[in-house]
Assembly symmetry: C2
Homo-oligomer: 169 residues x 2
Amino acid sequence: MEAYEALITRRSIRQYQDKAVPAEIVDKILGAAMQAPSAVDTQPWHFVVIDEADLLREIPSVHQYAKMAARAPCAILVCAEPALAHGPGYVPQDCSAATENILLAAHALGLGAVWCGVYAVPDREAGFRSLLSIPESVQPFSLVVLGYPDEARPQPERFKPERVHRNGW
Amino acid sequence: MEAYEALITRRSIRQYQDKAVPAEIVDKILGAAMQAPSAVDTQPWHFVVIDEADLLREIPSVHQYAKMAARAPCAILVCAEPALAHGPGYVPQDCSAATENILLAAHALGLGAVWCGVYAVPDREAGFRSLLSIPESVQPFSLVVLGYPDEARPQPERFKPERVHRNGW
C-alpha cells in the first residue's frame, strides 16, 4: 500500500476474522510503534501483547468500550513509563505517536485496528493494571485491538477548510 | 513510498532546501492530519500554516528549540479547541495523532519535518498565541517545521525487545 494512501484510508475496525495474527506481524507492528518520534528520543513506552483468549474476554470488564476485544485475536496495550519521559506533558504525546503508528502499521499490513482510550480514565488504568500485573512505575495508556478485518468501512471526507488558518488567525 | 517503509524510515529533519512547499502539497498534508483518529470522531483540531518569512523568523523567539523554523519554507502549528474534544484527556491524544500524521504525510510526499513540542509548556503556548493572534478558546499544541530535506539521516534501530511483554508483565 502506498504511504499517503494508508494515512487517508485508515479506519477504526472493530470486526475481525477468526484468524490469528502471526507473531512476526505483531513484531513488525511493534517495530513501527518504536519508530515513533518522542521528545528528546526518550522512547518512554512499553507494549503488552495480549493474545490469550481468556484475557481478551476479560478486557470488556475493564474497558466498557472495548467489547470488540472479546472477539479479537489480538490486542496491544500501550503503556508509558513516566520516569523515562522528558516530562509529564510528553507522556501522552509520545505514547499517542506510538499508538498512531500501530494503527497505521496494522492497516499497511492488511489488518484492521481500533484505538480505545485509557489515558486519564482512572478506572480503566486501574483495571488494566490489575488484569495484566502492570507495575506502579508504568501507566496503561491506550489499548489497540486488532485482527484481520471482517468489515469494510467507507472513507469519510474529514477535510474541513474552516480549520485551516494562514499565517495567523 | 510503501506505507510500512514510511513508518520505519521517517526521521526528524531540521535542514531544508531553499524551495517553497507548494500549497497543494500543504493541503494534502493537512488532509492526512484531519484523517487522524480522534475520540468519538470529535476532530478537535485547527492548523495554522505559516509560510511568511517574517513570521518564520520570529518562531525561535517563542520556541527556543525551533531555531530551524527561521530557515524553513513552512511550518504548521497544530492547535486544539478543547471545547470540541471528548474530554481534556483526549486533547493531547487526538492532536498528537494528527501531528504524527503530518510528519508521516510529509515523509510520504518527499518532504522532511520535525515535531517541536508546545503542549504543557506555558511560555511556548503564550508565545504562539501572541505571535499568531490565536483566540483564548484555542490552545497551541505542537509545531511541525517542514520543507524539502537538505540532510540525510540514517535509520536508527529502535526496537527494544525488553519493552515487549506477553499477556501480562
